[in-house]
């Protein structure tokens, strides 16, 4: 047999995207609003989750999937809040993928969860490329990281439904230009909702909680809220 050229035109991450769709179907079936939380390491993802659980656990049944390269520190902190949590460790890995989420879903009490928060691995590059089956993507950027990040990591900002500017209590000590950051984010992604918050002082978090509750109401009313 001689050399034959086969035209393929297939997305390399297509298998992940397909599995993510199946995860989302399963989450839709159970009416679970699922939020993928992404940021650099240390931007405040776990603090955001802890604040969210503490404020909303009377109003919604929350579940958590924790992604980290190593350790169960985050999962243990979440567990103390009395909500179901699955820790995924990916030695040498840089992101969660749909397959890992499928396994985690098999180990969560899906019938008893209204809101699933997925804490992705701290990284501004890879997580943006891998759909998990989430309905909404939330990105945290903390003030010390600088206002130029949308230009350096454009995909992450292009994909986000909500961008939280965390550690806003540090504003008096930082050279972070909020209007310039707004302009950069909305330039890339006009639909992104930008909320300044502090997971330490609680400033601005009411807006975040309202957004979540609103999305959960939409999910209950009309099925999937995926964009």
């Amino acid at each position: 047999m001689g050399v034959k050229v086969l035209t393929i035109l297939e997305d390399i991450l297509g298998a992940n995207a397909e599995k993510a769709r199946r995860n989302q179907d399963q989450l839709d079936k159970h009416g679970i609003l699922t939020v993928n939380v992404m940021s650099s390491p240390g931007a405040g993802k776990t603090s955001l989750l802890l604040q969210t659980i503490s404020r909303l656990k009377q109003k919604a049944r929350i579940g958590v999937i924790e992604g980290d390269v190593a350790s169960t520190i985050d999962a243990e902190n979440i567990k103390k809040q009395g909500v179901p949590v699955i820790q995924i460790n990916i030695p040498g890995g840089c992101h969660l993928d749909a397959n890992m989420i499928e396994n985690a879903l098999n180990n969560l009490p899906l019938g008893d969860i209204d809101l699933l928060l997925i804490e992705n691995v701290g990284n501004l590059i890879c997580p943006a490329e891998f759909a998990l089956g989430e309905h909404k993507r939330v990105m945290l950027l903390s003030l010390p990281e600088g206002d130029d990040k949308p230009y350096k990591y454009p995909l992450m900002f292009t994909e986000a439904d909500v961008v939280l500017i965390n550690k806003i209590d540090l504003l008096p000590y930082m050279e972070f230009n909020i209007p310039a950051f707004h302009k950069a984010v909305t330039g890339l992604n006009p639909k992104a909702k930008i909320l300044p918050v502090s997971c330490k002082t609680g400033e601005g978090l009411e807006d975040w909680f309202s957004w979540l509750l609103d999305e959960m109401r939409k999910m209950r009313r009309g099925g999937s809220v995926a964009c």
């Binding site: 086969l6 393929i8 390399i12 991450l13 992940n16 490329e129 995909l155």
Partner: protein, 113 residues
């Protein structure tokens, strides 16, 4: 940064398609990778050599076609390639853009024996 996952995807697509036509060997894999995808060619090649060992795609050559990062201005529709940190439109200077090319990441074709 996530070349291992990318390479697993490339190999599994190539093996599946080669298997469908009962090929005995995959000799070349043609990839289209956008500049914004952050994929490093050498790194994919390194993983590919490891993963493809003992498959019919072992020693296949990988060809990377790079698609440039192209943006379209949402104010005046000018299409341009940004440089570094400057993503503003060269025509109207607005920084309201959409990415129209540069995110590609697919297997274009394979050559089999």
């Amino acid at each position: 940064m996530h070349e291992l996952g990318i390479t697993q995807g490339i190999l599994s697509i190539a093996l599946e398609k080669a298997n469908e036509v009962q090929a005995s060997k995959v000799t070349k894999i043609n990839l289209v990778i956008g500049e914004l995808s952050g994929v490093v060619d050498e790194c994919v090649q390194f993983y590919f050599d490891l993963l493809s060992k003992d498959t019919i795609a072992a020693q296949a050559s990988l060809s990377f076609e790079r698609t440039p990062n192209k943006l379209r201005c949402r104010s005046c529709a000018t299409v341009f390639s940004p440089n570094n940190l400057d993503w503003a439109c060269p025509n109207c200077h607005e920084a309201k853009i959409e990415i129209i090319s540069g995110r590609e990441c697919y297997v274009d074709s394979i050559e089999v024996d």
